[in-house]
Every structure is written in structure tokens, then in C-alpha cells.
């Protein structure tokens, strides 16, 4: 575990010493700030629309940070050849993969915490109430969803040579799952065999990232979701994270690093 935490520490250090991360962070914060300060048509309920747009922005920014950070980890190590002195130490390849994952995931968690804290403070200032537990549930689910995304991008970085192609494919796949994933079973009904089976298998195989989208909870100040369902969703995410990481370890196991 010590080695995994050491690798994760370096990933986090790299992230907060990079300028592009701050640029994205500041842009998101500025847009949220501007949107929160406007009062369209003097409508008291306009805050909900603004919250929706701001949260969408937070989701997009968090996805961009998660995918771009995870997708470049191993390729950058290979390209800069920092992998050589690192793997010449008593560090196994699975430890490296798990360390990279943990670093990216924790960094995403830290970013999400800042985003949600800022967003919560902003909306509380307009609505004069702050449902902290709603925000906690939404943030926690969002963080676990990013865990799946990070693990998927790490696996992709070992399969596809260039980080840019990996990032693009990850964006398309994750976008596809978020927008189409939930409807695949209904699509399958209208199809003929064997396509129906293929689409059904796809429906039950892909990680349903839409489960983790609790934006409506925060936007409409709905009551909390029962914690047992949250726990189940977290276990579901943990299972997918593990599967993607084990697949990454398997791909990386005998890959030459020179």
C-alpha cells in the first residue's frame, strides 16, 4: 500500500503544479460566478435554471479533468521515459497502475470538493438555504462515477498509443453511455435477432454512469435518496473500477516499457 500511496502522491503533485488544471478551474468558477449574479426576468425561480447550467458546467469540467489527467499518466511516463527508473525500483506494475488510479481519483475528489463547495455557497447565497446532505450525496456519487471514468481512461491509455486518441475515445464512450446507455434495453426491443441480443448484452455490460447523476436532487432540493441505494450504487461503481484496473494490470503485465 505504501508504494501505491507514494505513486498517488506524485500524481497529485503533478496535477497541482500544472497550469491547464488551474485554467479550467478558474474558468468554471468565473462562469458560475457570473451566472449566479444575474437575475433574468426578475423571476425568483430562475435560480434553479442557473443551478442546472452551473452544475452541467461542473460536470463537464470534472469529466475533462478526470479523462485528460488519467489518459496521459502512463503514456507520459513512457514518452518521458520516467517509467524506467521507476520500475527499476521494487515497485510492481499493478502497484503502479493502482497508484496512478488513486492519485487521479483523489485529485478529482479534491477538485469536486472545491467545485461543490463553491457552487453550494453560491446557490445558498441566492436561495438562503443549503441542504448539505443533498450536496454530499450528489458529490459522493459524482466522485465514484469519476472513479469509473479514471479507471476506464487508464485502461485505454494502455491499449491506445496516443493520449489524444484515448481521450477522444473515452469522451465518446462516456458521452454515449450517459446519453444512450439508459435507453439501450428499449432500443433492443425494436430490433431483430441477433442484434437484439448484442444490444441487450451491451446494456447489461456497460457501466450505467447515469445512476450517478444526482444533479436534480441538488437543483430541485429534493429529499435525500435512501442510503442503502447509495451504498449499492457505490458498490456497483467499485466493482467496475476493479474490473477496469485488473484489465489494465493484465494488459500492462508483459508490455515492454523501453
Amino acid at each position: 500500500m505504501k508504494n501505491i500511496f507514494s505513486v498517488a502522491g506524485v500524481v497529485i503533485k503533478e496535477l497541482y503544479r500544472r497550469k491547464d488544471f488551474y485554467v479550467l478551474f478558474i474558468i468554471t468558477v468565473l462562469i458560475c460566478l457570473v451566472m449566479a449574479s444575474v437575475n433574468i426576468f426578475n423571476d425568483a425561480k430562475i435560480a434553479r435554471y442557473l443551478k442546472e447550467i452551473c452544475l452541467l458546467l461542473v460536470w463537464i469540467s470534472a469529466l475533462v479533468i478526470a479523462i485528460t489527467t488519467a489518459a496521459r499518466q502512463i503514456p507520459a511516463e513512457r514518452e518521458n521515459r520516467t517509467l524506467l527508473p521507476l520500475l527499476a525500483k521494487p515497485l510492481s506494475r499493478p502497484q503502479l497502475i493502482f497508484g496512478k488510479f488513486l492519485g487521479c481519483w483523489l485529485a478529482c475528489g479534491l477538485t469536486l470538493f472545491c467545485f461543490y463547495l463553491f457552487f453550494g455557497a453560491l446557490s445558498a447565497a441566492r436561495e438562503h438555504q443549503w441542504l448539505v446532505l443533498d450536496y454530499f450525496q450528489a458529490g459522493l456519487m459524482h466522485w465514484f462515477m469519476l472513479g469509473i471514468v479514471v479507471a476506464m481512461a487508464l485502461l485505454g491509455s494502455l491499449v491506445f498509443a496516443a493520449p489524444s486518441s484515448n481521450s477522444t475515445i473515452c469522451f465518446i464512450v462516456i458521452g454515449g453511455i450517459l446519453f444512450v446507455g439508459r435507453h439501450l434495453d428499449q432500443v433492443a426491443v425494436s430490433m431483430h435477432e441477433p442484434l437484439r441480443t448484442v444490444v441487450n448484452v451491451l446494456y447489461y455490460t456497460v457501466p450505467h454512469l447515469e445512476f450517478y447523476d444526482l444533479r436534480d436532487l441538488v437543483i430541485h432540493n429534493w429529499p435525500l435518496i435512501a442510503w442503502q441505494y447509495i451504498l449499492l450504487a457505490l458498490l456497483y461503481a467499485a466493482a467496475y473500477i476493479l474490473v477496469f484496473l485488473l484489465a489494465a494490470c493484465l494488459v500492462f503485465r508483459r508490455k515492454p516499457v523501453n
Binding site: N3, K13, E14, R17, N80, T82, L84, L87, A88
Partner: protein, 250 residues
């Protein structure tokens, strides 16, 4: 003396991804033995298989057949690398870290205690003369300074075996002298050094034994005096062994 680095019938083939291209054989049954406490020079022309051998020893490349071990442990197990230090040919370190942070990171991987880490960092930064630049990011270092950071990281765990891949390549005469001094000091401390180099004069000066490899095959191994034999120097012997015709002396 016991062998701490050993390869037996080591064969490495690189399969081409192109359909019509043949498999490249980088090593053809290499048998090598490095004993404790010796400075061992590993020589060969470019593409001979030196780096491939080192890559196998460090677990970067899996052998196609045969075996390799460090301290009697199969190189595929990470624990085999617990007592070694490795300096790559060129400097490949995290440029966003400072020298001190880099050394601390590697010390953690070796499982050094905090007090031991602090002591080693002070010692090594002094050894490579980087105390004043320890808090600066590595990206601001000159090439020579980066090479010295590399040397410091290879020594962080006080290794019993040091594997150096062309350690003096790209260094100025002063830097080369410094590296030679460090190798000599390690030898005096009873450490084993296994290094590849194209600087045959340097090898002649500091090595106890040398091996010459060519086209993936071991051509000669022995003490420097044995290899040199009736030749004027190691360079002439080397050229003769690899089958390169030497110009006749006037």
C-alpha cells in the same frame, strides 16, 4: 566469490508488428555471471544487446527463454530490485519535482524510514554537489546536474549492486571524472558495479572484468588483461573480437 547477477541461456526476441517483417533476435543464449564486489564492464557496439540485457535484468522486458536473476531472485519479481541501483543512459526524471522530492519519493518506494531518508538525502546531495539546488525543480537543471540527480537516485537505497547504462555519456570531462571517482568509492566499499560503456579507456582503468557482446552473443569475458592479451590496448582487442578490421600500424 558468489554470483549476484546471473543470466542463463538468455534469449530475447522482438516480434515485429509488421506482417512481412522477421522477428529480431536481440540476445542469443547469453550466459553471464557478475560476482560480488567487482566492477564489471559490459561492452559492445551499438545494437549488440547491452541495453536489452539491462532491460531484462531490470524487468522491463520479459525474456523469450532462459533466466536471469539478481541475488538469486528471479528478475521478474519486484523484490529482486530491492538491493540494486539503476542509472539510465539519459536522464528521465519528473521535471516538476525538486531533487529532494524526487529522492524522497524513491526512498519511500524502497521502504526507507524518515530519519534514514533525511540522512541519505543530505549525504547524496553533498556527494553529487547539488545541495544548493535541492529545492529547485529538476526542469531548471542543466544536463550535467540532471545526470548527477540520476546518480543520487541510483544510490538512495545504498545498493549492493549498481547497474549503470553508459553513465558518462554526454558528460564533460569533470563530470566523467566525478562518476569514475564515485564508482571507485563504491568499489572500495565492497559494492558491485555492472555498467555498459563505449569509453574503452575508462573501462580499462576501473573494471575488474569485462564482457564483450556482439549481435546478441557473448564473444569474450574475463579480466581486462586477459581480454587485452597480445593487443596494444582494450580498444584494439575489442575491434578484433567483434571482427572489425583494425588499420595496420605504420
Amino acid at each position: 566469490m558468489t554470483a549476484i547477477l546471473q543470466t542463463q541461456q538468455l534469449r530475447v526476441e522482438y516480434r515485429s508488428r509488421e506482417f512481412h517483417q522477421a522477428t529480431k533476435v536481440a540476445l542469443k543464449g547469453l550466459d553471464l555471471e557478475v560476482r560480488a564486489g567487482e566492477v564489471f564492464g559490459f561492452l559492445g557496439p551499438n545494437g549488440a544487446g547491452k541495453t536489452t540485457t539491462m532491460n531484462v535484468l531490470l524487468g522491463f522486458v520479459a525474456p523469450t527463454s532462459g533466466s536471469a536473476s539478481l541475488f538469486g531472485i528471479d528478475v521478474r519479481q519486484p523484490i529482486a530490485r530491492q538491493r540494486i541501483g539503476y542509472l539510465p543512459e539519459l536522464t528521465y526524471y519528473y521535471k516538476f519535482l525538486t531533487a529532494e522530492e524526487l529522492l524522497r519519493f524513491y526512498a519511500k518506494i524502497f521502504g526507507l524510514t524518515r530519519s534514514e531518508t533525511d540522512r541519505r538525502i543530505v549525504e547524496l546531495l553533498k556527494l553529487v554537489e547539488l545541495e544548493s539546488a535541492a529545492q529547485r525543480p529538476i526542469k531548471s537543471y542543466s544536463k550535467g546536474m540532471q545526470q548527477r540527480v540520476g546518480l543520487a537516485q541510483s544510490l538512495i537505497n545504498n545498493p549492493d549492486l549498481l547497474i549503470l547504462d553508459e553513465p558518462t555519456s554526454g558528460l564533460d570531462p569533470l563530470g566523467r571524472m566525478k562518476v569514475r571517482e564515485i564508482i571507485q568509492r563504491l568499489k572500495d566499499q565492497g559494492k558491485t558495479v555492472f555498467f555498459s560503456s563505449h569509453e574503452l579507456g575508462e573501462v580499462e582503468t576501473i573494471c575488474d572484468r569485462v564482457a564483450i557482446i556482439h549481435q546478441g552473443e557473448l564473444k569474450a569475458v574475463g579480466r581486462v588483461t586477459e581480454i587485452t592479451g597480445q593487443h596494444a590496448n582494450l580498444e584494439k582487442a575489442f575491434l578484433d573480437i567483434i571482427g572489425f578490421p583494425t588499420p595496420a600500424q605504420p
